[in-house]
Subunit: 205 residues, 2 copies
């Protein structure tokens, strides 16, 4: 990895942190340059436009998400254990572990971007975010469906509805943690998660 890639990666790390806190609209090349100790033009040369910088940040975050949430969770045993692992890792991603003073001081960067970009006209940035979100929900639905075939959840359960509901739990947790600073947020999120599973428990008999 040459000098260029190294700097580029460091810049993207810093940019990702800033975007998680202030969004794409709050990210400016000037403040990013200052935060990384570079000149505006020197930094700019790595991306050639702000839009390409934004796209690179999104890709960078997606890679991190796959590394620390998705791939490790998919190593857990099929069915309910894998679903629980996915939930726990996503919970950490949202707040406790990678939030605060971690890689994402502003919380889940995708959640933040979702509400920032949802009213934007179609474009490369919005499209990329939607694609990433689509992949994520599909993964959740697939993992849950695996739990159905494993006999952990009631047959006939709708995996898409489960992914929808679980995402609601995640969003509520993000909201309660970051805006409301509710110390019970994590406990409440776990309670909601257990309710979702209980509602899909295999019927007795």
């Amino acid at each position: 990895m040459g000098k260029g890639d190294q700097t580029r990666r460091a810049v993207l790390d810093q940019a990702m942190r800033m975007v998680s806190a202030v969004g794409m609209r709050g990210l400016t090349i000037g403040t990013l340059a200052e935060a990384t100790g570079m000149s505006k033009s020197g930094l700019f040369g790595h991306f050639n436009s702000k839009e390409q910088l934004q796209l690179a940040v999104l890709d960078h975050a997606a890679e991190l998400f796959i590394d620390v949430v998705l791939r490790p969770a998919l190593k857990a045993p099929r069915g309910e254990p894998r679903l629980r692992e996915l939930f726990e890792r996503k919970l950490s991603w949202d707040g406790r572990y990678y939030g605060a003073d971690g890689a994402l001081p502003g919380g889940c960067i995708f959640t933040n971007l979702a509400t920032e970009l949802d009213d934007e006209p179609d474009g490369p940035l919005r499209d990329k975010l939607v694609q990433h979100e689509r992949d994520w929900h599909e993964t959740v639905a697939t993992v849950f469906a695996g739990g159905v075939t494993e006999g952990d959840f009631a047959p006939g359960s709708d995996p898409v509805q489960f992914a929808y509901d679980l995402h609601g739990v995640m969003l509520a947790h993000h909201y309660a943690t970051r805006l409301m600073r509710d110390p019970d947020a994590e406990r409440r999120a776990r309670a909601s998660f257990e309710s979702l599973l209980r509602a899909r428990a295999v019927p007795p008999g």
Copy 2:
């Protein structure tokens, strides 16, 4: 109501629309002036600072929310009917009715501001939003608790946990509608809502 209040109100209406779409950070006095057909300085004179404009927008939105969601819903009969009315009106507020080409083309302004301001340091704007959100969740919890004493829901149900869960349903609906443009979003939200109630149904016997 003098001329001043009249234009001020018209400006706030327009500002609220814009904020719902582009957030407080995306709202600029220049574009707001152009959208209302005024000069920057003429508009500025009504608020004397951008922060006061932002605070006024938040108050304006809170009044609208009380008018079209809260107050009408509280006229419904105590218990489950009142809770259902609250849910339906909040659903309309988020997307169908007041969204799109209505008063809030960018969807629920509070949801948008929640993710935009959650990482901001404490200040008048953030504090005001948190206060409004606190009031809202307290109302939901209280209305649900009324359902418990009415015998519509299982005794021992936790109203705060219910408010947390319902908020998750709302956030998931907002997300599915606005970012993902999921045509099934409303149906899924209703399904989630019914699940929340079913889990709190009075036990048989």
